[in-house]
Symmetry: C2
Subunit: 249 residues, 2 copies
């Protein structure tokens, strides 16, 4: 069981719409720490949304009557609420300013993952990437073309949780690995079969990367080196529990 | 923003009731990797429960009528259900074999965190430590006495979550650090105030450590080195959302 390294990628330029993230990542990593086969590249949602043009000016949004109503209840900007509703399948819970929805991807999180921090001037907000699994796959292919390295890529965002205070970084896009390490059916050293041990390692990798990224330090990419991730063509969609199997939706 | 290392602690002996975990950890780390001030020691619940005598034989348990009834519904051993109920404030959800309770500590998880894997012969199960924050504090003090190092300690378990498939490692005991890194009130590079960015870094550290622990490999302790954790006297109890503020309990 070897050591795992969490390496922040420094010198990453401010990202603009149309930028090629794989090229920016390869350039930032070029001399040190490099990119090696088996690395996991963990990329925050914000730069992906910027590159993909998912930044919206609130001035361009006309709120619906439903958004106006919910804006009063939540004390939010009605244009922001309109965007939240457009990005969501449905509202899961609302109480006071807390507005938890199920996004079009199936993620359950506050405000459909729409965020106004680190975006730019006041009045701009970032939506989640439309298809973060595809975003991850595109970065993975681009890195391979530029460096020859076979890597896994995880796109992340910080979500709140039920039952526990505080946010944690989770995987919203995955490419080049399975999101789970599955111990079900294996036996422990006593011969006892392990039963409920499917670990969401993509989320654990996302959480680990946050430790070297931080919110304020403009470190949108981290490299996890030395972790033998489960190989296969997985997605973050697999991390979403089906609504009918979910006791808390 | 420096690199962070996740270091598995190898050569850790099988733990028995009454063992001094701090002494075992200090001994296992003695030559390599050592223990340094600023390290976070991440210790899985199972060895803490073993050392504290929280291993119970199902043969010693007489189920109540309520446990007998719930055992039929969940198709579980009634003696196991009896233990789950004893360790819980209440049942949060039950459907088929899934039994999610709020433990006496306030944690919401399956089966009150009671686990039969990696415990020993069939018929033995491990309960969560009675007070994992105190367990963490005791290890922290013991490490300081033996090595002089000022470390943080996190006790972990793997819990399921709402909305997302798979388990992740989370903090159930904390000592020597705050469980949160709080960015609320700080401003991003654009001068925009960060609002909802309280990160549960104790849970992120727990998740990170799992990457070098695994379920089958008998690595109950990992060292996280190089992470500037938030200093203070925090607890894992702070991670528990009050029931009245919880929209999903």
């Amino acid at each position: 069981m070897p050591e795992v390294r969490l390496i922040p990628l420094l010198g990453f330029a401010e990202v603009r719409e149309g930028d090629d993230l794989a090229a920016l990542i390869a350039e930032a990593a070029r001399n040190d720490p490099g990119i090696k086969s088996g690395d996991v590249l963990v990329v925050t949602q914000k730069v992906v949304s910027k590159a993909e043009g998912r930044i919206v000016s609130l001035d361009s949004v006309t709120p619906s009557a439903e958004a106006e109503r919910l804006a009063v209840e939540t004390e939010k900007d009605p244009r922001l609420v309109e965007l939240i509703l457009r990005e969501s399948n449905r509202v899961v819970r609302q109480r006071g300013p807390v507005l938890i929805t199920e996004t079009k991807h199936g993620f359950v999180c506050a405000n459909a993952g729409i965020d106004a921090s680190n975006v730019g001037p006041e009045g701009l907000v970032s939506l989640l990437p439309e298809d973060p699994d595809s975003s991850a796959a595109a970065i993975r292919i681009g890195i391979n073309e530029r460096t020859g390295a076979d890597v896994a890529v995880i796109i992340t965002d910080t979500f709140g949780r039920a039952w526990r205070e505080g946010h944690t970084n989770v995987a919203i896009g995955v490419a080049g690995m399975l999101p789970f390490a599955d111990y079900v059916g294996q036996t422990d050293p006593h011969g006892y079969e392990l039963r409920v041990s499917t670990l969401a390692v993509a989320d654990e990798l996302a959480a680990a990367a946050e430790l070297v990224q931080g919110k304020l330090d403009r470190v949108p990419v981290a490299i996890v080196r030395g972790y033998a991730y489960p190989h296969g063509e997985g997605t973050a969609r697999q991390l979403v529990r089906d609504a009918e199997n979910d006791l808390f939706r």
